[in-house]
Structure formats: structure tokens, C-alpha cells
Symmetry: C2
Subunit: 98 residues, 2 copies
């Protein structure tokens, strides 16, 4: 094989792994939003407050510890959780506006 063909084959191999992981991430995120939608509906039904700062703090602490175990930057794991939580809040706002 030419060097270029080698490079293409090597990059394609890496990319197949990235694509598999991305598919798994998308399907997991979809399941996660199903649960948070149930939580939102349940809290609305029971008249419970939507936000729970102590739960959020506990989630962040837990994810940072898991990230350290997984050799992932704990700062990133916290940014990631906030990114997801912001989307959950957007869903709840859309649900209460409809």
C-alpha cells in the first residue's frame, strides 16, 4: 500500500471506533432524557419544585469522582453535566409552555 492508502486505512479504523462510541452516546442520551422527562412530569404532578440544588451538587461531585476513575478531566465532566442539565431545563420550559 502507498503511504497515503496506509494513512487512510489507519484513520478509517480510528473513525469507526469514534462513530461506534458516538452512536452509543446518542442512544444513552435519549434514554437519559426519557427519565428526566418523567421526573419533570412527576414533579409537576406532585407540585414539587423543578430545581433541586442539593441534588445537582451531589451529581457533580459524583461525576467528578467517576471522571477521575476513568482518567477523564473532572472539569470536563462537570462542564458536560451542566451542558446536559441546561438541555433538561430547556425541555422542561418547552413542556410547561405547551
Amino acid at each position: 500500500m502507498s503511504r497515503q492508502a496506509d494513512q487512510r486505512a489507519q484513520l478509517a479504523e480510528f473513525r469507526r471506533s469514534i462513530d461506534n462510541i458516538d452512536a452509543a452516546l446518542v442512544f444513552l442520551l435519549s434514554e437519559r432524557f426519557k427519565v428526566t422527562q418523567k421526573v419533570g412530569a412527576y414533579k409537576a404532578q406532585e407540585g414539587l419544585p423543578a430545581a433541586d440544588p442539593s441534588r445537582e451538587e451531589a451529581q457533580i461531585a459524583r461525576l467528578r469522582a467517576l471522571a477521575a476513575d476513568a482518567q477523564l478531566d473532572p472539569e470536563f465532566s462537570e462542564k458536560f453535566l451542566r451542558f446536559i442539565i441546561n438541555e433538561v431545563i430547556r425541555h422542561h420550559e418547552q413542556a410547561s409552555a405547551s
Copy 2:
């Protein structure tokens, strides 16, 4: 059980599922970054350009289609991929600065 105890038990059940999914997400993200670190090192070694806009476009199109399958907002899946790619770029910048 009192209504409050019922509510606590129901929320705790939802939260155990969210926590399980979050742990899976953290471990998957860690694997994903391992692969992108290998890609970065390989591209540097071979003198290949770090960015590949056509690959990025293909990833976004693929994730949007997967998101639709998973009943996840395709807009969110695109935002999510960009969030992850920004972190990959940050890793590569750190690696080339060290």
C-alpha cells in the same frame, strides 16, 4: 407510607437510573477521548492536517440521523457533537503546547 416518603422513593428510583446512565456516559467519553488522542498523535506523526471539515460534516449528518432514530432532538445531537469536538480541539492544543 406518607405522601412525602412516596415522593422521595419515586424520585430516588428515577435518580438511580439517571446516575447509572451518567456513569456510562462518563466512561464512554473517556474511551472516545482515548481514540481522538491517538488520532491527534497519528496526524502529528504523519504531518496530516489536524482539522478535516468534510469528516466533521459527515459526523454531524450521521449523528442527526441517529438522533432522529433515537427520538432525540437532532439539533441537540449537533450541539452535543460540537461540544465534544471543542474539547478534542482543546486537548490537541494542550498537547502541541506541551
